[in-house]
């Protein structure tokens, strides 16, 4: 069992916003969006919206969901489950741990 990949310091991610971590860092197929809810919790989803080319890290994060900045599809931060059209497919969610102010990613482990 690995300790995960350190991908960011927690305070790099403002509440209600997200940042994108390049796939060369995470070793994943897609870039990873680190999304910080307005309660301060952090979540990780594949960054590219399942509907069309759009970065979820640039979306609006609120109340457990991220809204795509381009076409307004919403995804559950915890599970990646799509909440509404135009997207029809769920986003891939990854497990996150925050240790001593740093964010660690566990690619492909369910949160």
């Amino acid at each position: 069992m690995s300790n995960g990949i350190r991908v960011a310091a927690l305070d790099e991610i403002p509440e209600g916003e997200g940042i994108s971590i390049d796939r060369t860092v995470t070793g994943t197929d897609d870039d990873i969006a680190l999304l910080r809810d307005d309660d301060g919790s952090v979540w990780a989803l594949n960054n590219t919206c399942t509907h069309a080319e759009a970065s979820l890290a640039e979306g609006w994060v609120e109340d457990g969901y991220v809204e795509c900045p381009l076409h307004s599809s919403k995804f559950c931060l915890k599970t990646g489950t799509v909440q509404g059209l135009p997207a029809t497919r769920d986003a891939v969610a990854h497990r996150i741990e925050v240790r001593e102010g740093d964010v660690y990613l566990f690619p492909h482990e369910r949160p």
Binding site: A52, A54, E58, H71
Partner: protein, 452 residues
Amino acid sequence: MTSTIEPGTGARTVSAPPCGALLRPAELSRNIDVAGLVDADGGLLDRAVFTDDEIYRQELRRIFAASWLFLAHTDQFHKPGDFFTTYMGEDPVIVTMDKNRRIRAFLNSCRHRGARVCRADYGATRSFTCTYHGWAYDLEGKLISIPNKDGYPDSFHADDWGLVEVPNVDSYHGLIFGTWDPHPVSLRDSLGDMAWYLDAMLDHDADGTVVVGGVHKWMLEGNWKLAAEQFASDWYHVNMSHASALTLLSPSGKPKDEVVHRTGRQYVDPKGHGHGFPVHPKNRFDAQTVHEWIDYAVLRERLGDARVEGPLTTGHGTVFPNFSYLPVNGSIRIWHPKGPDRMEVWAWTIVDKSMPEHVREAQRLYNLRTFGPSGIFEQDDGENWSEVQAISHGFITNSVPLNYQMGIGADRRDTRYPGTTSELYSDAAARSFYARWRELMNTSAWHERKPA
């Protein structure tokens, strides 16, 4: 893999479909010779210029698509993504600050099916998404997201389908203008001597002006030129049309002699601009708080006596074709054309950035009271324009020419004012406005000329 479908004669291969070609027939933009509708020397105007549909469409092609048009104030943009939506003629445009903090303007129409990609009046954003099918564009107008992109042929390149950009955007002392002309006369050159008169409002100090409050918008029956020419040229209507408002504002119930017996000058610009202003050594700002805050001696130092005693305060101006302003209350406005019979007025209030809050508020309230949408003066003007328009479609009415002969022969050049001026009570700037209109209407615009 083989296909069971035989290509027909002339069928093109699926891998390299045509990119397409259109050719708009010339009959769609037939031009009318308007020389006989404007007699700028004799001071006559044919009312068809206010009512005719074909002339109106020609205006969109040759006036609005060819001129520098006011877009917004620089104070409306502070960070990348700040945007404001407006019109150039009837063309919807987004004015926005890009990531390099450059103000740019784009046609607000999706390249796919043509809906607006920004429906908000103003705000801040990272991108513009069409609400119809979802084509999305970045702040540079680049097409960045196409739902179901796999459905397009290989010949489809997103780079070819960015938002259409207004090729020239420039600003003058806080006023942002744009033109569709790819090779225009510069904004500064097109303003010419008019800049000296504009500076009386825009250049009180090095800090310039800012916008207070939002943009007021209202619809009026009336051709856009009725408002533009009045602001260029017409002090004549003041004591008649605004009699009740002037009486109301006078504490004694009788306006002072220096208010109703005005003499002054009217700047007449060969490019169709105009600015009329009473001249008096004690010209002042009407709002008491503003008047008390203004240091007229400092302004005399910066702008010179001629401007402080003239265009600094009470007066009216138009930058051809459809931007107008009133220095005394900081009202700047654009007359958006909405067909020959209608205009939409969009009005901003601007104040000196250096003004403290209570002075700004006094000017805002004064403007609201006088020239806001329900202002006691604005109501008079709107009523007049709508009255003229409402009856102008009558066949006989329409054929009876209008008189623009006041001040013929009164033009002069002197050392006190740049350019040519006429009397305060004169139609000179209106004649020049329509002469410029006629010139542009009878000249092929940039989009009609064959590429060199």
